[in-house]
């Protein structure tokens, strides 16, 4: 894990609760500042939903940066961070996060595939091909990557290369019920490629094959209509164009009906949808990050790197303040080192507050005892025993305290 950044060092001065408060206040201040700056000299036309999105996004940005710096090797983190960066139109940051993780995991199919997808979506077609080829080399059974590579060649205007890529792969079709490749897409791309290469008979052949597999392939009808026009068959062209426009209208109707059903304005739908996506990413990123910090903090504790462990637990709580295990483990660190026991008590209380589990009660009881509060220690451990009566450790600890044994 890298050394923590200056701002977190600043936050690590003083009691934990105060530090957490500062952290949260800082977040809110940043968010409020940005919003107020954007709205300067204007009526606030931003909806509460949009405002909430803005705050979550800022929070995510800070967390993503921090955890990526501390755990550059973690694939899950890189994935979640990249998802976030993509959501807020920062494709270069997304690719950078994934490429960083790939350095540590050079055989990761998933990372290669994700880098390629992000690159493709943002017009870095050469890069997309490079990474899809890498992914295919790692997992040759992922035949669909051939479609992706061909599609990227098409986007680059390299129609002949796209066709070559696909012609090889469609030979593998054996009419399976659940094929390993979306042959409909392969045929569609082939048809499109041949259309661009002005080989209209071949284009027709493959587009028709695509439509046999997927008759509702809207763009298949569109491209086939174009092909028939070039083959000077306006009747067939019209037929497929009508199918295309019909399917297009049906899709539009479905979308409209869905929007009406939601009974909200388009813009609110967008804000709600954005918020859901951001919230999901925030949850995933925080959970993964805090877990990594927890594991790391425990490991540092066992190596007696107590100062480092302290910082690590602080970071864990800063990004995922709702997990009782983080408070309990942090409290344990102070118990092990027999210092800052007041703070340890506060942490253990918070753990119980978040999750009144036997483990958390036991930890709080032990700390009360270490802080010479025998009465509260006994009451608290009784609660742990009530929750898990069969656990001999709780009973032993209780008896030990009751007998007034040394701390």
């Amino acid at each position: 894990m890298n050394t923590h950044s200056n701002h977190l060092q600043q936050f690590s001065q003083g009691p934990l609760e105060k530090r957490l408060c500062r952290f949260i206040i800082a977040f809110l201040a940043i968010a409020a500042f940005c919003i107020s700056t954007s709205l300067a000299a204007t009526e606030p036309e931003i909806t509460p939903g949009q405002q909430a999105n803005s705050i979550i996004e800022k929070q995510l940005s800070v967390i993503a940066e921090e955890v990526l710096q501390d755990f550059p090797q973690d694939i899950q983190l890189a994935k979640f961070a990249a998802e976030f960066y993509n959501q807020c139109e920062r494709p270069d940051a997304a690719v950078a996060a994934l490429e960083q993780a790939l350095k540590y995991n050079p055989e990761s199919y998933e990372l290669c595939n994700r880098i390629a997808k992000t690159s493709f979506a943002n017009g870095s077609y050469d890069k997309a091909i490079t990474y899809w080829r890498k992914a295919l080399a790692i997992s040759p059974e992922k035949l669909d990557l051939n479609n992706n590579i061909a599609e990227t060649y098409m986007a680059l205007g390299k129609y002949a290369e796209a066709v070559t890529q696909l012609e090889k792969i469609i030979k593998k079709e054996k009419g399976e019920v659940f094929p390993a490749l979306d042959y409909s897409k392969s045929y569609f791309l082939l048809g499109q490629g041949y259309l661009q290469l002005r080989q209209y008979e071949k284009a027709k052949e493959y587009l028709e094959k695509a439509l046999v597999i997927t008759p509702e392939h809207r763009m298949g009808h569109y491209q086939l209509s174009k092909t028939y026009m070039r083959l000077k068959n306006p009747e067939k062209a019209k037929e497929h164009m009508e199918l295309y426009t019909k399917q297009k209208a049906e899709t539009a109707e479905r979308k409209e009906a869905w929007a009406k059903k939601r009974k909200t304005a388009v813009i609110n739908n967008t804000a709600d949808a954005d918020r859901k996506v951001f919230s999901r990413t925030l949850t995933r990123l925080s959970a993964r990050g805090s877990r990594l910090y927890l594991v790391s903090g425990k490991s540092q504790s066992s190596q007696e790197l107590f100062n480092k462990a302290e910082t690590t637990f602080q970071k864990a709580i800063a990004i995922d303040a709702g997990q009782s295990v983080l408070y309990r483990q942090f409290a344990l660190l102070y118990v092990m080192t027999n210092r800052k026991l007041d703070r340890a008590q506060g942490l253990a209380k918070k753990a119980v507050e978040l999750e009144p589990s036997a483990q958390n009660y036991l930890m709080l009881g032990r700390i009360y005892y270490q802080n010479s509060d025998r009465a509260n220690a006994l009451i608290t451990i009784e609660k742990a025993i009530a929750l898990e009566p069969g656990n001999p450790l709780y009973r032993r600890t209780y008896n030990k305290i009751k007998k007034g044994a040394d701390k």
Binding site: E45, I46, C88, A121, M154, Q196, K226, R230, I267, A271
Partner: protein, 563 residues
Amino acid sequence: MMKSGYLSKNSSLRYSMVAGLIFINTFLTVCANASISFTDVTKKTGITFKHSDGNSEKFHIMETVTAGLALFDYDNDGDTDIYFLNGAGLKGMKYETPPQNELYRNDGNFKFTNVTAESGLGDTGFGLGVAVADYDGDGDLDVYLNNYGPNVLYSNNGDGTFSDVTKKAGVGDGSNFGAGTCFLDIDNDGDLDLYVAKYVVFSYDKKATIVKGGFLAYPSPTAYVFPADSLYRNNGDGTFTDVSKESGIAKYRGTGMGVICADYDNDGDTDIFVANDSMENYLFQNDGTGKFEEVGLMAGTAYDFNGKPLGNMGVGCGDYNNDGLLDFYVTSYAVEWTTLYKNIGDGLFEDVTFATGSGEGTFNNPTWGTGFADFDNDGDRDIFVAGGHLQSNVEKFSDRMTYFVRNEIFMNTGDGKFVNITDKAGEGMKVKLSSRGIGLADMDNDGDIDVVVLNSRREPTILRNDTTGNNHWIKIRLKGVKSNRNGIGAHVKVVTKDLSQLDEVHSGRGYQSHHGLQLHFGLGEHKKIDRIEVKWIGGTVDVLEDIKADQVITITEGQNPIK
């Protein structure tokens, strides 16, 4: 041994010669590629115009799409003047001095004088699109403004002043959200009708602001209802009739942006290409009587080659490969390429953007004004593309887009391909602003095409073409007699030995702009033109032979009938 030695020596000589030829060829190619060059002369022009987008700070969508400009000879003195459109204060925003459109008279040698006040063209509406033509056939050029709010028709009084004749003409078009506009003759009756594109149905009550990366941002047009465009038929008496419904135009609702009118199918009548934002483009095919059928899907101009609708902005028209068919070039939104639609005959088009290299470098940022012009006079048409983001704060939420970007220039290599030569095309191409409409015309009458760029929220950019080389050229002015006065819609073919070029007179083009009533052809090394053929709207054909290059000629309809 001797033989072998001789051969060896001979081979070395041969290799040296081949290497030398390769070097010379490479050198010449590099020189040729580097020849187009622009110099930014804005500061020396005396132009003080500064664009305003309404500046409401409330992220109203119209702020992003203003405005176009017009290059035309308002005072009939033989040079091209500049008319910049401007935004206006939007609801809740008051200016001490309200922004207005500004007209600059060309005094020669890239010096201009602001004549807005005396001309009466200082419109204070929210300017978007403009088209210029002699709609009343009185020999001078009139101006139509397609605004957000009421549109305005200014009639040229012939003395350097203009009068607002909107009410009389009946072309105010309600109070809509305008875009591109064009004069064209829809029914071949000799007078000019009017196409008026519309963008969205806007209302201050509908809050459509969005948040990107935590920052307020401008919305997409898809947040609004799409309007139908308008078409007005000229009654020949200074008035117009709204024929949107009977012409078939009103059946289609869309997010019209740039418009160009062109006879793409060479059937003698003028069709209409509407670049729509975030949806399919419309190609309205004229049946010759002013009735239109939308054929964009069938023709292949609705989408890109993938069948994906783009955020289309401006549209240019020209015969880039000199095959006698007019092609279209369309600019678009960010994370999209510009698109070159090659006309392959029979009313069909192919997206050849990648095959031709004509979109290289246009992906990251929105592109706007565009046009085909032969900047190096080598006999084929190059492409100019204006760029600039519409989100003024884009840097805050995007790591690869910027509000200010450079414009792009694509040199036609003569073999159906283009090379983006922006890096090598002079310091004028290094200007980074957020450009919108452009105009292409020979501003200093030296035989090459210069560029005028309107930049959102900023001063314009005036680019002088300083391309080196001894290529020849010709400029052609048309004077209609039976057909409209400016020859709008006429096809002009210029043939010089193996080089045959086609162009068409357009009123309104690119991104909400107007330029080019005077046609310009590069002739390469040819000092003489074998044949010029003009096909006027209405069917008259004039042919001129053995014409000297490097001059401006005026061709009057019917004076050089085909023999």
